[in-house]
């Protein structure tokens, strides 16, 4: 029985960045500025301050001076072979229900054989996801796998594809789209693809499509060569004002709220006057109803302070509830 150590310097950011420096300086000497740049791009914010003196002044003795520049003392590119821990983790993935989206059956068999002497790091049955929704995607469905892979390839090539799909309002839509990101939700156990619709070589809108609702994917006749960015999509959907919650200390509400809303961008402060906490939560307006429901689930230990339209929706539900219980 052997404990495989997750917290090890061989996976550390410093080893990784030093490997990058060594690999870049085998054939070409690097200046101090170039080395600093590699550190700043790949390590922590203050790392250059600690790594540079040790690397350049010889304490680590991995570089040699070369006409006021620095050259690696190594002869080969430094790439770490797979560790037992990494193999055990990869072996565990081979039993995941979604693995067929990524690997062909033959590839899964070949890797299983390759890792035959390795114990998986965990088994799927070790875990029980008690609140995942029951209508998750069916990953064994052949069409689903095909569509998923076609989207992956189109996304990588940034090329348009012709997608036919059903909306949640049961409308059938067909259009030319460039996949920008594949979004996965653990809670829903669903994949969605964020796509930019192209018409006459221009982006006209950005939408999200449930992969399970795709009816067909065909090659597209459209082309698009400009830069694609999702920033405007995120900005467009981001709420104008955050929801402000007043959280009381009862029933462990503060901790429950902080964990429950941990995936949101938020700011929280303690209000001494009321002895309560105020949390400002920024959200995607497309998911407003979901946030509303989640807030209601806390009952009276969380009160919505604003903004007005969000508050009115909560008040509307409370008012309907009062009417039903009279």
């Amino acid at each position: 029985m052997k404990i495989m150590e997750l917290f090890s310097e061989i996976y550390s950011c410093y080893y990784n960045v030093v490997a990058k420096i060594m690999n870049s300086s085998i054939n070409n000497s690097l200046s101090k500025n170039e080395i600093t740049e590699i550190i700043n791009d790949n390590a922590f914010c203050e790392s250059a301050f600690y790594i540079l003196p040790k690397l350049l002044d010889g304490q680590w003795n991995l570089l040699k001076n070369d006409n006021a520049k620095y050259r690696s003392r190594l002869k080969n590119n430094s790439i770490l072979p797979l560790t037992n821990l990494q193999k055990a983790w990869m072996k565990a993935l081979l039993y995941d229900k979604r693995i067929q989206l990524f690997l062909e059956y033959e590839q899964i068999s070949a890797l299983t054989e390759y890792f035959k002497d390795i114990e998986p790091l965990y088994n799927a049955t070790d875990f029980y996801y008690f609140d995942t929704y029951s209508d998750g995607d069916y990953y064994k469905y052949e069409n689903y796998i095909n569509y998923f892979r076609q989207i992956l390839i189109a996304l990588q090539k940034k090329s348009p594809i012709l997608i036919t799909f059903d909306t949640n309002k049961k409308l059938r839509i067909k259009g030319h789209y460039i996949p920008c990101k594949i979004e996965y939700s653990n809670k829903d156990d669903k994949f969605r693809v964020i796509v930019a619709r192209v018409r006459y070589g221009k982006i006209i809108s950005t939408v999200k499509i449930n992969i399970a609702r795709i009816i067909n994917i065909e090659p597209s006749t459209e082309s698009f060569t400009d830069q694609l960015s999702l920033d405007s999509y995120y900005d467009f959907n981001k709420c104008k004002e955050p929801v402000i919650l007043e959280i009381s200390k009862e029933r462990n509400a503060v901790e429950r709220c902080m964990l429950h809303f941990a995936s949101y961008e938020k700011r929280t402060e303690y209000d001494e006057k009321t002895d309560k906490y105020l949390s400002y939560i920024y959200y995607d307006t497309q998911d407003e109803t979901e946030l509303l429901i989640r807030i209601l689930s806390f009952g009276p230990v969380v009160r919505v302070i604003g903004p007005e339209n969000f508050l009115n929706q909560i008040k509307d539900r409370v008012s309907k509830q009062t009417f039903l219980l009279i």
């Binding site: 029985m1 008690f130 939700s185 964990l259 409370v318």
Partner: protein
């Protein structure tokens, strides 16, 4: 005074501070009372360096508050993995790491004397062969180096298992890593694999994604090891909520995971109380593996039989199974999505249409209290709630009255 270093020797040191900065974010310097203020300053400085992009701060009456704020649906890779990549090391560690890999790449197999000589020639540093042996042995355990015997001598070779060579379609493997590094348990391992080949996730984004739980992965690793070997465990459980530190003993059987909050629990069988209990991984401080438990299959079978009656993680009090029924008003012609919600979120509860627009949800479960948050999420549609746990049902009606007062005032 010791020189400040970005790196740490002990993971637990950084774990609690990072969690507090990320999850709570409202604590000022003076609120961190567990350790000295100097410790706080050092940990804050480290975290600021690791997560510079996501660090925010403001001032309160108590002073400057530092917190981590991010929308997890926009991140390509969990930034808290930085904590796992911050292990400290010595100058000899890093030099031997690169020189051993480089030397063995050029030589098929070397004994320790030859390996040491070649490293000394290459580096110009005179390493002791014992030091090279210790590091090589460490790397044999990690799987980076393999050994073979030739006569009486042990020969060291570099492993030939690289990400790019283990399968024909390397690209598929990269897609896979970009996804699982965020979704799978121990995702940080996938992140380290991508680091090694200079790849970053540019394909996937993740909704309802709870990044803080990576900080419990060491604890999870120990528990899974115990589960694999049918071992009992004892551990320190420190509830920040109740401010109680206790030692707990049990047989670990399963990891319960909430995809709504990301929280993870270990389900143990407590022999003294003769019952199953779930305990939060983020409250667990250290784990000791004890002796083997013999009848573990029976325990697992019993646990599996009970799962359908767990709404969440509670196995209830001493009473028997409880019942709850919730009558809801749903405009079925316009609000099919609410009926869908009942079906997909109801965790096996029965849904019955009583008459037009009136639906009844019923469920048997161990702890009515656990389902009430979900019931309250239907506020605005609840006609009645009935059940065997009268205290909880009364609390629900009281809560609804409080909601009315909260938003409309009055009695």
């Amino acid at each position: 005074m010791a020189e400040f270093s970005e790196l740490v020797k002990n993971f637990d040191k950084i774990r609690d501070y990072m969690r507090d900065f990320f999850v709570y974010g409202f604590k000022a310097r003076g609120d961190f009372t567990q350790k000295s203020l100097r410790t706080y300053d050092n940990e804050r400085r480290r975290i600021e360096s690791y997560l510079n992009k996501y660090i925010k701060w403001d001032t309160s009456n108590k002073g400057k508050r530092v917190f981590i704020s991010l929308d997890s649906s926009k991140i390509a890779c969990n930034p808290l993995y930085a904590a796992w990549k911050s292990k400290s090391f010595t100058s000899n560690d890093i030099m031997l790491h690169f020189y051993i890999l480089d030397t063995l790449k050029e030589n098929e197999a070397l004994d320790i004397e030859a390996l040491t000589d070649k490293i000394c020639d290459k580096s110009g540093v005179c390493f002791d062969s014992q030091m090279v042996r210790i590091k090589s042995k460490e790397y044999v355990n990690e799987g980076i180096i393999t050994t073979s015997k030739q006569g009486k001598s042990l020969y060291y070779s570099l492993s030939k298992d690289y990400l790019s060579t283990i399968t024909e379609n390397y690209e598929n493997l990269l897609f896979l890593l970009k996804y699982y590094q965020e979704v799978s348990p121990f995702g940080v391992i996938g992140s380290s694999l991508l680091d090694n080949v200079n790849e970053k996730n540019d394909i996937f984004s993740f909704k309802h994604h709870f990044i803080v739980h990576t900080l419990e992965d060491n604890i999870l690793n120990d528990i899974l090891l115990a589960m694999k070997n049918n071992r009992k465990i004892s551990f320190i459980n420190q509830s920040t909520r109740l401010d109680i530190i206790s030692t707990i003993l049990g047989v670990p059987l399963k990891i319960f995971v909430s995809s709504k909050s990301g929280r993870r629990y270990v389900c143990i069988y407590n022999e003294f109380r003769k019952r199953f209990i779930n305990l939060r991984l983020d409250y667990i401080k250290s784990i000791k593996l004890l002796d083997t438990y013999k009848n573990i299959d029976l325990l697992r079978e019993n646990l599996n039989k009970n799962l359908s009656k767990c709404w969440g993680v509670s196995f209830g009090g001493n009473s028997r199974v409880e019942q709850i029924s919730v009558k809801l008003y749903i405009e079925e012609d316009k609000e099919e999505y609410v009926i869908n919600r009942l079906n997909r979120e109801g965790r096996g509860g029965k849904i019955c249409r009583l008459e037009k627009n009136i639906f009844l949800y019923t469920k048997e479960l161990f702890d009515t209290n656990e389902i009430m948050s979900w019931v309250k999420s239907f506020t605005g549609r609840i006609i009645s709630v009935e059940g065997t746990n009268k205290v909880i049902i009364d609390k629900f009606y009281n809560d609804m009255k409080k909601m009315q007062q909260l938003y409309y005032g009055g009695e």
